[in-house]
Amino acid sequence: MGLEQKLGDMGIVTTSLEKAVGWARSNAIWPLLFGLACCAIEMMSTQASNYDLSRFGMELNRASPRQSDLMIIAGRVSRKMAPVIRNLYDQMPDPKYVIAMGDCASCGGVFNNYAIVQGVDEIIPVDVYIAGCPPRPETLIDGILLLQEKIKGEKITTWK
């Protein structure tokens, strides 16, 4: 943002600014509607009323990458889908975060073959990995809370 160059290290002003912006960003994340395979079912059930994601600020999933700031890769990524994912990731505006949900998105899962990308981090940088096949909704919520901690801890120099 250039604020640090302009204001210099003003101590308490920048610290409070970091805290305020981090709090605001972490409590109003809009995920991109991106379920690929079986983990999408768990993501849907996390979004539904029993394990509610709306209480964390993710009331709606946006269908357009230009309007979202979190991409939850839920499911296995095939080699044919890989350029599409890269395209969508590039279309998301900063600040953007990625959660690799499930074993297939983290490391290829049970599929070690010609068709599945061995972990979506070969294509896009990932912030939080969630293990499970599929991870229970509570695990997904735990991953999202971890992401929120990460966002709250971002310093002013790491802003884009």
């Binding site: 080699r79 044919k80 890989a82 350029p83 290829g108 070690n112 073959n113 010609y114 068709a115 061995q118 972990g119 981090d121 070969e122 294509i123 896009i124 940088p125």
Partner: protein, 169 residues
């Protein structure tokens, strides 16, 4: 009385069939590549096998001829099934497309072209269907390894991690 595979009479004309195998009530006709389309057309028109259920291919690698094409046909009026086998060699992996006889062979043959590399002559739309369009190679052949990444144990985990193409930005 309903026809059973052991009782149904199959008389393809003029030696379209090289040999016949019956195994547990399933009839398999072995034929040569040049007679395939004539045999399929005869089965469809004369013997009433009006449904092509599946077209697949098996790779018997050290054996020559290497590829075995399998066509499964079903007859709805007669309620019987028959299988047609064609063996193809690796250096000449071309065969006439069955789309002239059965339109449902279109995507089935595209899948075989994609994964095994057998070229189909006169196919209306021969291109890859499962792998990305610019993929090199044919994954289900026997010489292609099954796994693409080593299994990680404690002794090779760091090396795999170092060599893996992570995306940084």
């Amino acid at each position: 009385m309903a026809e059973t595979p052991s009782t149904f009479k199959l008389e393809p004309p003029e030696g379209l069939v090289a040999s016949t195998t019956v195994f547990r009530g399933e009839v398999t006709l072995h034929t040569a590549r040049e007679q395939l389309l004539a045999l399929l057309t005869h089965l469809r028109d004369v013997q009433q096998f009006n449904q092509l259920i599946d077209v697949t291919c098996t790779d018997y690698f050290p054996q020559e001829p290497r590829f075995g094409m399998v066509y499964q046909l079903n007859s709805l009026p007669r309620n019987i099934r028959v299988r047609v086998n064609v063996m193809l060699s690796e250096h000449d992996a071309r065969i006439e497309s069955a789309c002239a006889a059965f339109l449902s062979a279109n995507w089935l043959e595209r899948e075989i072209y994609d994964l095994m590399g057998i070229h189909f002559d006169n196919h209306p739309d021969l291109r890859r269907i499962l792998m990305p369009l610019d993929y090199q190679g044919h994954p289900l052949r026997k010489e292609v390894p099954v796994t693409v990444e080593e299994n990680a144990f404690s002794f090779n985990r760091e090396r795999i991690d170092r060599d893996k193409p992570y995306a940084r930005e």
